[in-house]
Amino acid sequence: MFQRISTYLYQRPGLVLWLMLGPPLAYMLVVYLGPLFNLLVNSFYYLEEFTGLIVREFTLRTYAQIFDIANREIILRTTAMAAAVTVVDALIAFPLAYYIAKFASPRLKTWLIIAVTIPLWSSYLVRVYAWKLILAKEGILSWFINLLHLDGALNWLLSFEGIGGSSLALSPIGMFIVFAYIWLPYMIIPIQTALERVPVSLLEASGDLGAKPIQTFRTVILPLAFPGVVAGSIFTFSLTLGDFIVPLTLGNSKFFIGQAVYSYQGTAGNIPLAAAMTMGPVVIMIIYLLVARRLGAFDAL
């Protein structure tokens, strides 16, 4: 019986391919790509404000709404945050990635890679929650700042319009710290992978030719690590653009894109506008993935 089925299948590789590919393909088409396409279509509809109904006609007016003053502010604020998070993450990630790639012994390296990868998979929500405790007015960070007698400086920083707030736990500064923390592994891993590909002999050659360590770093290592920084940046940037948990948890009344999208689709029932606003991060990510695939980066992803 099994023998006959086996022989039958062996003679029909096309059928076998469809048997294997069919279920995952059907699942992704129906459950994922279908709704995603539907979302794209929705972004070209618009919400009639008097009736509160969605008008199913092709129009670009929803995209035009993105550039209303209120939304423009939200987009600017979110983009600025994403840019700041990206820069700081690159600065924190680089030394660690460099150390892992070039200085850690093989044994230590295995452990360090695990230490960097675990936060990537582990509960994102719990990691945000941890900062709710840390940043609280009466919490550990304030205690530490008081200990160093820097509370005056903190209050001065919090008094700034735009980045400040009543406490770290309810201010853009706090959000910035949390975003930098949450997305840091996404920056470390690509940089480390890029540095890993730089052969030691190249660094030795640079040294032999008379370059000081700092020169080797600036003219050899940094340029070669740059693609890794770019790859990591795309993650930190796009993830910050689309997130709504951190702004909802630590933000104030000043909205970020994720939060705006969340409320447009929820209480406001404005799916077209919510859809249109998500398309920015979507387009960024798709372009990135296409470029990454061209470069053969997919096999490692």
């Binding site: 099994f2 023998q3 086996s6 590789p13 076998v16 391919l17 294997m20 590919l21 279920p23 995952p24 393909l25 992704m28 459950v31 994922y32 790509l33 995603l36 979302l39 929705n42 924190i92 030394p95 660690l96 150390y99 790639a101 070039k102 093989p106 390296k109 295995t110 695990i114 230490a115 960097v116 675990i118 998979w121 582990s122 929500l125 719990v126 929650y129 941890a130 709710k132 405790l133 609280a136 009466e138 919490g139 304030s142 205690w143 540095l195 993830l239 689309g242 709504f244 948990i245 909802l248 689709q265 799916i271 991060p281 990510m285 798709i286 993935l289 695939r293 997919f298 490692a300 992803l301």
Partner: protein
């Protein structure tokens, strides 16, 4: 893990310190939660802790809403993992065995749910659920989770296939085994640990997912959804600390072992969330 680039040189002081700082920044915050599970303070996050108590573990155990949320999360994660294992392995086998038109597109399609911000998947599913009037249920959560779990299994299994020698399969067939026997005795033992690693990562991803879940759960509360409601409107601070620690511990072990398995295979599997 063999390393080609290890130079054996010592890192400078500054670099070591900066690397250590980065590492601490990644891991210390979680320990703070563990510390706070012991606080007797119910209304604030005062530090230093005003005392030490173990009573919140008992209180959390007595909460039926938490047990319901935990059970729901475990059920969802198990079924989503199972679906991901089947679909991910099938897709990996198809891509490995045969060169077909659009083969590259499969990887691309599978990685999308994990690469795009969760809110996109969430809203897309929510509006699809809405337009077909599908009632929210435990299945709507599972279906959403499976979309981003498949790629994890797929990546792990495909990487393993690529390292497996095709000649083993040919030898098995030449020696008279049929396809099922070959799968059972040759292919499966080869990919078993990859399935385990992929399955554990998928489980961890699903167990603590909150963004897609908020859109597909309706009125149901998974453990992460419960925590999220406490983040915006804190009512049970000490119990939340205990739950947060529990989620961390439940996801830590599978992730850790999956990483160990992958590290032994000396290839980097998984990656972007």
């Amino acid at each position: 893990m063999p390393s080609k680039s290890y130079s054996g040189q010592k890192a400078s002081w500054g670099l070591t310190l900066a690397a250590l700082g980065g590492l601490l920044f990644l891991h210390v915050p979680i320990l703070i939660i563990f510390l706070y599970t012991l606080t007797p303070d119910e209304t604030t996050y005062t530090f230093p802790l005003p005392g030490i108590t173990f009573k919140w573990f008992g209180v959390a155990l007595q909460r039926p809403d938490l047990w319901r949320a935990l059970t729901l999360s475990l059920r969802v994660a198990s079924v989503a993992t199972l679906i991901a294992l089947v679909l991910g392995t099938l897709a990996a086998a198809a891509v490995y065995r045969t060169r077909f038109f659009g083969r590259e597109a499969i990887s691309f399609m599978l990685v999308l749910p994990i690469a795009l911000p969760g809110i996109v998947t969430g809203i897309a599913l929510r509006s699809a659920i809405g337009s077909f009037d599908i009632p929210f249920s435990y299945w709507t959560i599972i279906i959403g989770h499976a979309t981003f779990c498949v790629v994890v299994v797929y990546n792990n299994v495909l990487a393993r296939f690529r390292r497996m020698q095709g000649s083993q399969i040919e030898a098995s067939m030449d020696l008279g085994a049929n396809s099922f026997q070959t799968f059972r005795y040759v292919v499966f033992p080869n990919i078993a640990t990859a399935l385990l690693a992929g399955g554990m990562l998928a489980f961890a991803l699903s167990f603590d997912e909150v963004i897609v879940t908020t859109f597909t759960a309706g009125q149901q509360t998974t453990l992460p959804v419960w925590i999220f409601s406490q983040l915006t409107r804190p009512r049970d601070r000490p119990v939340t600390n205990v739950v947060a620690m529990l989620v961390m511990l439940i996801t830590f072990l599978p992730i850790f072992f999956a990483q160990r398995i992958s590290a032994q295979g000396s290839d980097i599997e998984g990656g972007g969330k």
